[in-house]
């Protein structure tokens, strides 16, 4: 059986968890088994039905009022209790902020290894085989597991959602015992700035600016584009972040975030190797740069050799026209 952890943030099921569930379903088919989902938290019953359309046969809900606040210690304990009881062959998490924080704690409790941030999974000889970028995508390692459950976190925005079906399944609710003194650290608040944007790792379109943006004030131009483009976010190169033009939350590249959106628009980004490492897995790449020799053009599907300040206003008008149709 394949078990997929379903993350809930601010009362909503996270899309990247449904992606992991969809991928779990595909591998379950290959391995002639079923895929099940597990929630951890408090009062989540109403969310359980949201995952059946994505292929879950059973949904486990691990409930305790102490689980209202996220803590890797308590969440891992709840998941380990279930894992020891139902013994899944495979355990998937989304490689979201929570998944990356929680999965290693579960793996350590179980004494098994974990493959992080996978971009491909396959079934081979009845076992799971996963591929994951190392050195920020400069190389890919394909690994198999000698221990069970075979544990992996799956990179958001990489695995397609299945077409939702009107399936129903079984809901199994379990009260879990968590000794309060075992929780020595917990999340108490999510601080979201007003008007805050979508995260670059979750965006379907990333509009990114580098050194060529010339100053912090010009990121407003990129925000004008993200205001028009659906599911888009503003990204930046390391040099722009290090210059203090934009917060490092936006940085794409080896010491920033690795993204794989449908469309990556690079404005005034030369394409240093550490930047390319973080965005080369984007489905389509567009580069606008004055320098025809900029390395970014070597990876771009479409390139415009021009001053970005002259291109953006026209691009904005064209996009407005097309998107309003």
């Amino acid at each position: 059986m394949i078990l997929v952890y379903i993350e809930v943030r601010e009362g909503k099921v996270k899309k990247s968890s449904l992606e992991a569930l969809s991928e779990g379903g595909r591998r379950a088919k290959d391995l002639n088994t079923e895929v099940n989902a597990v929630f951890v938290g408090h009062n989540l019953d109403s969310l359980a039905t949201e995952v059946f359309p994505y292929g879950a046969s059973k949904v486990y809900i691990l409930d305790n009022s102490l689980l209202r606040h996220y803590s890797a210690e308590s969440y891992a304990q709840a998941l380990v209790n279930l894992t020891e009881e139902i013994k899944p062959d495979v355990l998937f998490f989304s490689a979201s902020a929570m998944g990356k924080d929680l999965a290693p704690r579960v793996a350590a409790k179980l004494g098994v290894s974990l493959a992080s941030d996978c971009t491909k999974t396959a079934a081979k000889d009845g076992k799971l085989e996963v591929t994951r970028p190392v050195f920020a995508g400069k190389a890919l390692a394909t690994v198999t597991f000698k221990s069970k459950p075979q544990m992996a976190t799956l990179r958001p925005n990489v695995f397609p959602l299945i077409e939702p079906a009107s399936e129903k399944g079984e809901v199994i609710k379990k009260e879990v015992a968590i000794p309060e003194e075992q929780i020595k650290g917990k999340a108490v608040e999510v601080i979201r700035e007003e008007g805050s944007e979508l995260d670059v790792t979750e965006a379907e379109i990333v509009v990114s600016g580098g050194r060529g943006m010339k100053g912090p004030e010009n990121y407003a131009l990129l925000r004008e584009l993200t205001a028009i483009l659906p599911q888009s976010a503003v990204g930046a190169s390391r040099s722009a972040v290090d210059a203090g033009w934009i917060d490092h939350q936006h940085q794409v590249g080896q010491t920033g975030k690795t993204v794989s959106p449908n469309l990556y628009l690079a404005f005034g980004i030369s394409g240093a190797i550490q930047h390319l490492a973080g965005m080369s897995s984007s489905k389509w790449i567009v580069a606008v740069n004055k320098d025809p020799e900029a390395p970014i053009f070597k990876v771009a599907d479409y390139g415009i050799v021009a001053d970005l300040f002259q291109v953006i206003p026209h691009l904005k008008e064209e996009l407005k026209k097309v998107l309003s149709e």
Partner: protein, 251 residues
């Protein structure tokens, strides 16, 4: 870890990366961790010890930490080839802490290496030592036996409260690491760096066997350069949108 500007080449016969010609540096995330430790010591007193697990080449990196101002450095020698399995190094660190550093307040890490890119070690060590963890931290405050930290999540920050001792992993933004001073470099030169073996830590190889097996290492699928769209900015922008609609079909 190799410098972030490095090109990575693969030895296909044994699924390793070619280390020859690579410039090894202190991982940038670890640097934020060291800096935060130094700042805490300056504010509250105490001692900063830096620990690395790996080959003797890591001594240069430990010297850099001493030059930044760390009080002492220890190398735990482990020449095992990279398996991208965090369990091994986490067990070694946890055991070293149990054996050698019973009296500590905080274990600081970088949020991930810049290589294996797992980001698992801080959390696994926290679990092995039954400590709370806060990962990907951009703000840290310690007050007596408790602390608060902000960690990065998708498009927001998550505020954590925890008791000490605790595990913290550092993210860019936590601080601005200092440069080594000449005085620091001279002092670091004089300091001995003790080298411990796995035997010294009373930890057996069978506990450490990797549970991941690398089947294949390869370079990323090469991207081919696409079209350069000619024309004046207005015309190029129009052609681009047309291509994104008709050819890429994404808008």
């Amino acid at each position: 870890m190799p410098d972030t500007e490095s090109k990575i080449r693969i030895n296909h016969d044994n699924n390793t990366i070619q280390e020859e010609g690579l410039n090894f540096i202190l991982s940038p995330y670890d640097e934020y961790g060291v800096e935060e430790a130094l700042r805490l010591r300056e504010a509250k007193g105490g001692k900063v010890t830096v620990v690395s697990v790996g080959s003797e080449e890591a001594i240069v990196i430990l010297k850099k930490c001493l030059a930044m101002g760390a009080d002492e450095a220890i190398l735990i020698k482990d020449d095992e080839a990279e398996t991208y399995d965090s369990l091994r190094v986490s067990k070694i660190i946890a055991q070293a802490v149990k054996e050698k550093f019973t009296d500590f307040n905080l274990l600081l890490f970088g949020k991930q290496s810049v290589g294996a890119d797992n980001g698992q070690v801080p959390t696994m060590v926290a679990e092995f030592l039954s400590l709370p963890q806060v990962n990907v931290v951009t703000k840290l405050e310690i007050e007596g036996n408790t602390g608060t930290a902000h960690r990065e999540i998708e498009g927001a920050l998550e505020k954590f409260e925890f008791s000490l001792p605790a595990v913290i992993s550092a993210q860019k933004g936590l601080n601005e690491p200092r440069y080594e001073t000449l005085k620091g470099i001279m002092a670091a030169k004089k300091k001995e760096i003790p080298v411990l073996t796995l035997n010294d830590l009373d930890i057996g190889e069978d506990e450490l066997k990797p549970q991941l097996e690398i089947v294949k290492m390869e370079g990323p699928a090469p991207r081919e350069a696409g079209k350069i769209i000619e024309g004046e900015p207005a015309e190029a922008a129009q052609k681009l949108v047309e291509l994104l609609r008709k050819e890429a079909k994404i808008i």
